[in-house]
């Protein structure tokens, strides 16, 4: 029961509310029992299939009903094997049923899974349409991880070019630099798109990523997603041995810390980011002045962000 604010029903309305609930309860339990009985009797009719729709519209988490649907469908699909197009016709109904269930609740594992299952059964699935559907849902909630998982499935099965997915992620980040899901997506795409490291193509891409990060931290310096992504960027730079890019990144972060017009919260994030970049070098290679800066910064971070004091103190152990 997530996010439901507690409220009281006024006394005069309580009786009406109770009656309404009783009616709903009876409707639900009668239908449920009917479906369970039909299944026990081996009923595989389309009428029963329709009946499950009514309950799934009320609660799409009733996974047993999706299971029952698949049992009925598998029987129908075997019968339809010989006729061209009939199979996909049956399955298209499942796409529309899951679509209306997702419109009511797009966080139900079982609905998403049923849709995946349906597509896998189809002879000619319209992968582009499915991809567009996820793009539409991201307009409502760009972080829905069910939808992201589904999109990964579509991209894989539908052989969607990964380069266009990288462009999709860039667009989402331009809309909102705090879209951690979009940043995460890049970390899975880049190693697949540029498997040879070091290479001029990889280096060019990493330079683009560096620019993206620099722009993003300048828009929203306290967004933790961008700083987590910076870890990925640093790892890619190190893998490729592009030392000039690392120096550039350090310079940009240093400049932002020293010259940026930062709020208290932003300055914690930037300082932490800078300290982590300095700590990438082995301690013995750090200049005395940098060592002192890191040491002082850890004190500062402990007092500015006391929730994570234990973490900052562990950074000092590295010194």
């Amino acid at each position: 029961m997530h996010g439901r604010v507690k409220e009281r029903t006024p006394e005069e309305k309580q009786e009406a509310v109770r009656k309404e609930k009783e009616r709903k309860l009876l409707g639900f339990t009668t239908l449920w029992k009917d479906i369970v009985d039909r299944r026990a009797e081996g009923d595989r009719s389309s009428e029963t299939l329709m009946k499950t729709n009514q309950l799934l519209a009320k609660c799409s988490d009733l996974y047993t009903l999706w299971n029952y649907r698949r049992e009925i469908l598998l029987a129908d699909l075997t019968d339809a094997e010989s006729e061209e197009g009939k199979r996909d016709g049956i399955l298209r109904i499942e796409l529309s049923v899951t679509e209306s269930c997702l419109a009511l609740d797009f966080k139900s594992y079982s609905t998403w899974y049923h849709r995946k299952w349906t597509l896998e059964q189809m002879q000619k699935a319209d992968w582009q349409r499915e991809l567009d559907l996820t793009s539409q849902l991201f307009r409502l909630d760009a972080r829905n991880f069910h939808c992201w998982n589904y999109r990964r499935f579509i991209v894989e099965r539908g052989h969607i070019p990964l380069s266009s997915e990288l462009a999709f992620s860039t667009k989402l980040i331009a809309d909102d630099p705090s879209n951690y899901s979009a940043w995460h997506y890049r970390t899975t795409l880049i190693p697949l798109l540029f498997p040879t490291v070091p290479s001029p193509e990889h280096q060019t891409q990493i330079r683009t990523e560096l620019a993206l990060v620099v722009t993003a931290v300048n828009v929203k310096a306290n967004d933790q997603g961008i700083w987590f992504y910076t870890q990925f960027l640093v790892e890619q730079i190190q893998k490729g041995g592009y030392t000039n890019l690392l120096d550039e990144l350090k310079e940009e972060v240093k400049k932002l810390y020293e010259e940026g017009d930062l709020t208290a919260e932003e300055s914690i994030a930037v300082l932490h980011g800078y300290v982590r970049l300095l700590l990438l070098d082995p301690i013995q290679n750090l200049k005395e002045s940098d060592k002192k800066f890191v040491d002082d910064s850890i004190d500062k971070l402990c007092s500015l962000d006391p929730l994570r004091k234990g973490y900052y103190q562990s950074l000092r152990d590295a010194l």
Partner: protein, 355 residues
């Protein structure tokens, strides 16, 4: 561009005690007091509900005194949910799957009644769901998710049969779900998420394969889940929620980084989510309570190394010692009282603290 505040405010007036007696009453009466329609619809997660409820009562030291959840009644119900496949369903009219099989075994372990079911059939059911890549499907229909890796390994560990699955491949699959930020998602390529991190770290702990985890990297990501209110969220830019007081906190405990967040602030947040009037714990202050958040909030409190204030005795009641003693310590992997885990003999791996 507007950047909304996703945290909540907690007033200084928040009562800093665990209302154990209220929570016990709330759990004992749940199902009679809540909306009967919602309770009927939620039959599809009844076995989980029983696990949440009896575990919470146990952690609050009152399960042996429970009138409604006495051993024979609960064990009979659980037995009635074992299917010919060996797996368990949440309710006899629903289908079996791994999450409910895991909850059933957890309930039976709590009541020391594992011997009362067909154990061998259950083991075969679970191991039969392991795939060639080491992952587990949730049931015979084929959905793969790292949540099922924890359900399977936890279930097998409690049945003393972890060696019956392919442990190397089980760990390899989890490793394939590890991300750039040290976290884990639902499947390879999935974004790091507090609940799946808990499942992956928990399964790796049971498999004694925490070498797969980059504890410092993951520890930082987990520590960043704490918001100024003290509450934890499950992913960057999300609201705080009491259930993450378990998923995130337990993960930090397993990887030896519990001291990377502020325990006192988290305790205050969880206590602020209590329904002091009717009992139970909600996801956020002022929201409806439910057994799910009640058990994970309570178990979370038991992991925190800060003492809890006893509930002040009301004007009509004398302080009842049984309701004011501290909650039992929960095992961070299995979310059951540690004493049960010791009795069953399950060993989990916990990384040493970094300091």
């Amino acid at each position: 561009m507007a950047f909304p505040n996703r945290d909540v405010d907690i007033t200084d007036k928040t009562e800093l005690f665990l209302a154990s007696a209220k929570h016990v009453k709330y759990l004992e009466e749940y199902g009679e007091t809540i909306d009967s329609y919602e309770f009927a619809v939620a039959e599809y997660l009844r076995m989980s509900g029983i696990y949440w409820t009896i575990t919470c009562l146990d952690i609050l030291n009152t399960l042996d005194k429970s009138k409604r959840f006495h051993k024979d009644f609960v064990v009979d119900y659980v037995r009635s949910c074992q299917k010919p496949s060996g797996g368990f369903s949440p309710h006899p009219t629903h289908d079996e799957n791994l999450p409910h099989t895991c909850c059933a075994i957890q309930v039976l372990a709590t009541f020391d009644s594992i011997a009362s079911i067909d154990k061998e059939a259950c083991i075969s059911y679970v191991t039969g769901l392991q795939q060639p890549d080491g992952s587990f499907t949730g049931d015979k229909w084929g959905e793969v998710d790292t949540r099922f890796s924890l359900c399977a390994t936890a279930c097998l560990a409690l049945l003393g049969a972890l060696d019956r699955c392919d442990r190397i491949k089980a760990a390899d699959f989890i490793a394939s779900c590890r991300n750039f930020d040290g976290g884990f998602g639902v499947s390879p390529g999935g974004e790091s998420h507090g609940a799946m991190i808990y499942c992956c770290v928990g399964a790796l702990s049971l498999l004694k394969r925490l070498d797969i985890v980059d504890a410092d990297k993951l520890g930082l990501w987990l520590a960043k889940r704490q918001l100024p209110s003290g509450g934890l969220n499950g992913r960057p830019e999300k609201h705080p929620d009491v259930c993450y007081s378990w998923w995130i906190l337990a993960s930090l405990a397993i990887i030896g980084r519990l001291h990377w967040i502020d325990a006192g602030r988290l305790q205050r947040y969880i206590l602020a989510c209590q329904d002091i009037e009717l009992g139970g714990i909600a996801d956020r202050p002022g929201n409806y309570a439910d057994p799910f958040h009640t058990v994970f909030g309570t178990a979370g409190l038991s992991l925190l190394p800060v003492g809890l204030n006893a509930e002040p005795a009301g004007p009509d009641e004398k302080g009842d010692a049984s309701t004011t003693i501290a909650p039992k310590k929960a095992n961070p992997v299995l979310c059951m009282a540690q004493e049960i885990i010791d009795r069953v003999g399950v060993q989990v791996q916990i990384l040493p603290s970094s300091r």
